[in-house]
Subunit: 568 residues, 2 copies
């Protein structure tokens, strides 16, 4: 808390700019804390408090009713919370000296005074440098009008004619759009500039999503950008990619990211951060003591790296709104936590989720770390229906958790939420090993995958289990004996060229054979997931040889390097 | 770590007594750490490393293959881990001075020397004071032979004759047995001495399970015990209860709890705790520096209350085994965490889970606390299929989380795991409010139920939202104006006698009416779950009246006090 002014007199005038997530959370909390305040919410669109995260699911038809997305109306907000919600009302200027905002709406322009101003302007879509984005087939998917237009376009497509979509941008919303359009029976092509889908996910897990997309008929164009949208002879769009590919499309959805809608704040002279987001303190207060800001437009601090910038996520926006209201009204505020960037997406039958720093982020930030990988059942393996959760987590040399990512069909959200909680608490590999999670066969395992991550990280960090990684495979194959300790049948189904197959159950009796084959070279052990090879690595080390275990085993290897598989 | 001896010379002799969960975890970890050790596992039964938590699910048929429960055999453990596993081998004595154990097996008795001894004897079923427990219909469900006998008994019942089961004890395994027997087509009666099913669950949530059990045809006999098992004329069992009820039964399953199997340790003069469990230090070492102990037989410290006693849970047992192996072999050990008692059970379509201290435990221990309740969708309400998670959590006056419980159809395991992690980290209501959990419509909400728990607890603890509870309802009805702010339709469907119905959307315009009706009395506000009544309570407080919000609202009220509902 600061000593700056708060609007603490009865009848104080609170003005909120932006009536979705963060803005509406702030307005509602302010009302619950102060029955006497005048609270005006100014929203430039016609919709407040709509479920923006739900838009793709109405496009798909999974959320049947459009009304379900409209959580509140100005009328319902007046009735429940005595809020004065004004839609179609754009704030064009802030006079900080006079403490007024200029509001433009269909009937004209007026000045509105405030004692406390909250800015929740959100973000605006980045417009990529693509020619022809004004083509009528091109759509966005961020607002109710976007959704209406896109839904109408899809509905107007002939049932028996071509139904082709191109989605540009394979981020969270892009992937949701892909699934929705596929659910509507469109053939979908997905274009992504990065070399893998869902760029916040590390490259090693992304192929799992790519396979799932392809299995549902989605054509992937990775590492390329859209360069132009033109028209075909029959009026459809033709999307030309940077590699020359031309994709005819009846619908094009562009979603290449957002930037903070901070023009109003900038024009008012409020301090912005390097990436154009509004700077705020721990109470969400801007550089003007009478102005607060929340949501996609504000600068936050990233946990782990300490980087600053905007993060367009609904959860933090809502909590910032609540905190801003508390601060505005002079209440005790909760300590603002750095943003972990926890996020999740469904991609057909798969779920992908992330929290904290990715390996790429850690590498960019120069943060020393060890990354471990497991492929564990989402519940006890002896209980029917166990699905593999592919988990990757990074730890500092002192054992502190830095970030985690997961992909799988079941139980992914639970593990990422547990890891997000652990990350927030500053937990270490030791702490993960000791977590006491709920176990009965339908739900988990006596050693939950999160415990297993802790165990593996302990073994890696204290040197019990030296590991090698898929990224090193070419160098390893050139300089090591690769010892594949899977069964003969698994080996026959695919293995690395030159690998020696000694099933782990035979290893103690065949150590001489391993020693001869190694011929002085270090031994690169692997099994399917890392469990059997852990035992084997310990056996080989005890025999006096240099040995390491492949992190994530064969499953991790074939995910990213299927080219290396030999079945001879 | 202590300065006591560890078996640190090559070829050290490790003897493990008990070859399931904790014992086998220790043996496997010891081998992975030390290839040179001689490791002997002595198991009195014919089975090692079986999935004891899976037994009810094979009885039900959900786990089809009995072999699926047998995770390892002595042969597979020899092959993979070079363990010398001896089944049918009972340890009858420990000579601590000579460092030997006496082993009895079918072929005779022998002495086995050790450098380090690990005791993992588990627990034995408590035999309740019921006459006639030797009746052939009476079964337990703790071991593979128990399962085989029970499965055979059920299979032998005539398909067209009476198929009646009585389950004595409604704890975790008792409830799983009920579901399994019902799945086999038996009519099941459940007998529990406590006044509600699943005694570790607080009484206020248990009726949800009771309703689910009844909905699946299970007859409940609560607050009574079985006093005798006799035979009917046709050879079935007749279970007589303490209230005189007589229940004919073709199968009786008795599961009224376990006690530590600590006789061997006691006879050897090892220190036991007050409840008969083996005392161990943070490294799982007993009062003898050459003897370690893990699992159901050892004393642990309960988090929150600091109580000590045994806790029969697979997760802690496995981790203790790993820690004991580390300690035995002189490795760095992870700090032993107090036990939270996290546990979960499926009861037909419902899940119930607990972590930390229950309200009853806190009351017994005299720990000051506030308990809050929410009924929140397991994912965004606008996304189809949202199921209510009934969450109860207790907090210390300083905001520290003390325990949580949940019941619901979906998403219960995830919330309890997050709360178990938060509890382990010492998190507060503020911390829960700030948790950054994964949100997309199919998985959660921008304000996850766990965040909501934090928000509500903040409001209760800082006085923003004074609350009243269902436990006070009789006194409140006698002394307060009950203000029901639900809609007219909800009110018509059931309400408290004498309640004034003012929908929350009309409250600000009808405050005079409330003031008149209150006539100087405090106002007890409620809605369905507590959300609308929170707003209403703030409005009434702002009007200068004394007001409190019913914790958990009408949903919590009718769960425990359906007798109070009026529809006139």
């Amino acid at each position: 808390m600061t000593s700056s002014p708060t609007a603490t007199t009865p009848g104080r005038r609170i003005v909120v700019v932006g009536g979705v997530a963060g803005g509406m959370s702030a307005a509602a909390r302010a009302r619950r804390l102060d029955e006497t305040a005048s609270i005006v919410v100014l929203e430039q669109s016609e919709y407040v408090s709509f479920a923006n995260c739900g838009l793709p699911y109405h496009l798909s038809g999974e959320i049947e009713s459009r009304d379900a997305l409209l959580l509140h109306t100005p009328q319902s907000l007046r009735a429940a919370l005595a809020l004065d919600v004004r839609t179609g009302s754009r704030v064009t200027a802030i006079d900080r000296a006079a403490r007024t905002v200029t509001v433009t709406h269909a009937d004209g322009t007026y000045e509105l005074p405030y004692d406390a101003l909250l800015l929740a302007p959100g973000a605006v879509a980045v417009r990529p440098p693509v020619e022809g984005l004004d083509h009528p087939a091109v759509h966005a998917l961020r607002t109710i009008p976007d959704l209406d237009a896109l839904t109408a376009r899809v509905a107007a497509l002939p049932a028996d004619g071509p139904r082709r979509a191109v989605v540009v941008g394979a981020g969270f919303i892009g992937l949701e759009a892909v699934e929705a359009l596929a659910a509507r029976g469109l053939e979908v092509a997905l274009v992504e500039l990065a070399d893998h889908v869902l760029p916040p996910l590390d490259a090693e897990l992304a192929p799992l999503l790519a396979d799932e997309l392809r299995a549902h008929g989605v054509a992937l164009h990775l590492g390329v950008s859209a360069s132009a949208v033109t028209s075909t002879d029959d009026g459809a769009a033709l999307v030309t990619l940077s590699d020359g590919t031309r994709l005819p499309a009846d619908v094009v959805v562009v979603n290449v990211g957002v930037r903070p809608a901070s023009d109003l704040a900038r024009d008012a002279g409020l301090e912005l951060g390097a990436r154009g987001a509004i700077k705020v303190d721990a109470d969400q207060r801007t550089s003007d003591p009478y102005v607060w800001a929340v949501g996609d437009a504000v600068e936050v601090t990233q946990a782990v790296t300490g980087d600053t910038g905007p993060v367009p996520l609904a959860g933090p926006a809502n909590r910032q709104g609540r905190r801003a209201a508390d601060a505005m009204l002079g209440r005790r505020t909760t300590p603002q936590a750095p943003v972990l960037g926890t996020a999740i997406v469904r991609v057909f039958g798969l779920t992908a989720a992330v929290t904290g720093a990715s390996q790429a982020t850690l590498a960019r930030a120069g943060v020393e770390h060890e990354t471990v990988r497991i492929h564990a059942g989402h519940h006890a393996g002896y209980f029917p229906g166990a699905e593999q959760v592919h988990l990757v987590a990074s730890f500092a040399p002192d054992g502190r958790l830095l970030g985690a990512q997961a992909v799988g069909r079941e139980g992914v959200d639970k593990r990422i939420d547990v890891l997000a909680t652990a990350l927030r608490a500053g937990m270490t590999a030791d702490d993960l090993a000791e977590l006491e999670l709920a176990y009965a066969p339908p739900y988990g395992a006596a050693k939950d995958p999160v415990n297993m991550l802790g165990f593996v990280a302990q073994n890696v960090l204290d040197g019990t289990m030296p590991q090698w990684t898929v990224a090193e495979v070419d160098a390893v194959m050139a300089s090591h004996l690769v010892l594949d300790v899977r069964s003969r049948a698994e080996f026959a189904g695919g293995h690395l060229e030159g690998a020696l197959n000694v099933p782990h159950t035979e290893l103690r009796d065949r150590l001489d054979e391993v020693r001869d084959a190694a011929d002085g070279r270090p031994v690169a052990v692997h099994c399917a997931s890392g469990v059997r090879a852990h035992i084997a690595t310990r056996v080989v080390l005890a025999a006096g040889l240099d040995a390491r275990n492949l992190s994530g085993g064969w499953i991790s290897l074939v995910t990213t390097r299927p080219d290396l598989t030999r079945t001879r």
